[in-house]
């Protein structure tokens, strides 16, 4: 009685998801296999045979993976530092860390164009110091995309990691030290293994976010396309909804596969029991 009543509470959400997500996704995926009145995999063959498309796919994966890796590397020590502070300091530092998420991604990306451009802040500074003779070409490259994406997603991984790290009993680190571990050994043998769940979840968030991000790559990538901008171009500019659906399906499958792999990894590395 009580249980069925509780299940009822799910209904509005379920209806919404079914109507606006599950059915559209099925329709999209279905449409890629049923084109012009017959079953076909033509769209996929067309995509995977074209080196230009493959290059876009490869660039997207590369940008996402590098972004995720750098976010992990930058986020991990930062998160550990924050997790060790007093509650008041922790709240303040977390608020600061989250701050980039509160600004619009359009504004943020444009700020980066000012900084990274040929005559931007960065180049001016490096030129005036004499570190470089010619302005660097950063803007409108994959590097610019990565910088923008790292700026965007670093807070996500920090929040996730702080959540996990502050639950690591400080006695565990003390126990390791009393058994002969120096700070570094205790960090490697206790803190890192116990932070793996946070690292994996944070990593998934960053990777999927980078893979599907549109604004940042569109504004900072210039002519360099990623899957999401390519998808947009096909659907809106070229009006090729068939190819756009194929690309969307590929994107979904990749995301799905990556999440599965990371979950498997998490199960392997997670604390047992």
């Amino acid at each position: 009685m009580k249980k069925s009543y509780l299940t009822l509470l799910l209904l509005p959400g379920l209806v919404f998801l079914a109507a606006f997500m599950v059915i559209p996704i099925l329709l999209t995926v279905g449409s890629t296999f049923y084109h012009e009145g017959r079953f076909t995999v033509e769209g996929y063959l067309y995509f995977f045979k074209d080196p230009y498309f493959l290059k876009i796919l490869w660039t997207t994966l590369r940008v996402s993976l590098v972004t995720t890796a750098i976010c992990m590397l930058l986020g991990f020590p930062t998160a550990y530092f924050i997790s060790q502070q007093s509650p008041r300091k922790k709240a303040l530092l977390l608020a600061l860390a989250i701050f980039p998420l509160l600004t619009s991604s359009v504004v943020r990306s444009f700020s980066w164009t000012i900084i990274l451009g040929k005559k931007g802040l960065l180049n001016n500074m490096l030129l005036s110091v004499g570190l470089i003779q010619e302005p660097l070409n950063i803007l409108y490259t994959p590097t610019a995309m990565m910088i923008g994406l790292i700026h965007l997603f670093l807070p996500l991984i920090i929040i996730t990691l702080v959540g996990v790290m502050e639950n690591i009993d400080t006695d565990l680190v003390k126990a390791a030290e009393s058994l002969g571990a120096n700070r570094f050994a205790a960090f490697c043998r206790v803190v890192i293994p116990l932070s793996v769940p946070g690292l994996i979840i944070g990593g998934i968030l960053v990777f999927v976010g980078s893979l599907t991000a549109y604004t940042t790559p569109a504004l900072l990538g210039g002519k360099q396309q990623v899957i999401s901008t390519f998808l947009y171009q096909n659907a809106i500019t070229l009006n090729d909804w068939y190819l756009a659906s194929v690309v969307a399906t590929i994107m979904m499958v990749i995301t799905f596969v990556i999440i599965m792999i990371m979950n498997m990894l998490a199960n392997k590395l997670n604390p047992k029991g």
Partner: protein, 353 residues
């Protein structure tokens, strides 16, 4: 020879001293308990010895070596935490092997020592379990094995039994005592449970507000507390404040309000300094002069409250020297308001500061 010595140790947090001019020495191979209410500084003392806290002043030495500035990981002390602090991501075997692997002990020796230690704590066969799959008592024993396997110079326990249920607590403290004596390892044990401390220790230090009120054998503390604080802590609920005292051979005579009480001196009773008499509710006697058969250490009073405790009755007796709590077994209980004589047996009345 004293093996562990703390000299004039001071520890402070935010300008506030938790320990000041703190001194302690422990004999080699013995088990000493630090006993006291929360906030008395016992855990601080233990963490200082372990190296988790720095002394602001003073010196801590072990076997003549100065450890005051030695970092935790170079001390080679075994620490057993209240929370056990087992590594949740490692199996029982790997938890115990943790310290040995850090010491780069070769694989065969690690295996031999881990298995021997698990055997000592009766956990053979549990090697591949993870901490979450163990009961509280088993986790406790893993924690002890992990601390012991490194052959520490000193073993430290921080309220190790407070998370266990009552039965297990009794079993575990016997176990801890057995292992400690088997290995002959000097041990400092912190607890707020007096029964636990008394049953397990060679010596007990009762602490209050950062100082040791008394350091003695458990039986001495139990029978002859030195100070009012210690007396209260171990169940002396009745106190009389005296105005003066004279010593007469092995008898101490104490006076207040024209009444004289006698207490004994000597025979392991310690110094018996001070002007306060203390006695347990179980040791006071009630009755008429004929029933009691003595003519001194008597005080007339009136039954104020009578409570049935099952095995005995508990009375609160109102007298001109204040109220006294008395436990007495009897068929026919006193009723409230009844006049009665309170007897303070000379061998049970002790004098504290």
């Amino acid at each position: 020879m004293a093996m562990l010595t703390l000299e004039n140790i001071a520890v402070s947090y935010d300008q506030q001293y938790i320990l000041k001019d703190f001194n302690l020495s422990v004999e080699k191979g013995s088990l000493i308990s630090l006993l006291g209410p929360s906030g008395c500084g016992k855990t601080t003392t233990l963490r200082l010895i372990a190296g988790f806290l720095d002394a602001k002043e003073g010196k801590f030495a072990l076997n003549g070596k100065d450890y005051t500035r030695v970092p935790v990981n170079k001390r080679n002390f075994g620490f057993v935490f209240q929370s056990y602090a087992l590594f949740p991501h490692l199996s029982v075997y790997d938890n115990v092997a943790f310290g040995l692997r850090l010491r780069k002990v070769n694989k065969a020796d690690v295996d031999r020592r881990v298995r021997r230690m698990l055997d000592i704590v009766n956990l053979s066969g549990f090697e591949q379990r993870f901490p979450k799959e163990l009961s509280g008592g088993q986790r406790q024993r893993v924690a002890i094995a992990r601390a012991l396997v490194i052959e520490p110079d000193l073993l430290l326990f921080d309220e190790p039994l407070s998370n266990l249920d009552a039965n297990l607590r009794v079993n575990m403290r016997v176990e801890i005592r057995r292992i400690q004596q088997e290995l002959g390892i000097t041990t400092v044990y912190v607890s707020h449970d007096q029964e636990e401390c008394f049953s397990i220790s060679d010596q007990v230090a009762v602490m209050n507000k950062g100082i040791i009120e008394q350091l003695d054998k458990p039986s001495t503390i139990f029978k002859y507390p030195k100070t009012e604080f210690v007396a209260r802590f171990i169940g002396f609920n009745n106190f009389i404040t005296f105005d003066s005292r004279q010593e007469n051979g092995n008898v101490i005579e104490l006076q207040t309000k024209g009444r004289t009480f006698r207490a004994l001196h000597g025979e392991g009773r310690g110094e018996q300094k001070g002007l306060k008499g203390a006695i347990r509710p179980d040791d006071l006697k009630l009755g008429t002069q004929e029933e009691l058969g003595v003519d001194f250490n008597l005080l007339p009073g009136k039954v104020k409250v009578s409570t049935y405790l099952g095995r005995s009755y508990q009375y609160v007796i109102e007298t001109e020297l204040g109220e006294f709590t008395v436990n007495k077994e009897m068929e026919q209980p006193y009723i409230s308001g009844q006049e009665v004589l309170v007897h303070f047996p000379i061998e049970k009345l002790i004098v504290v500061e």
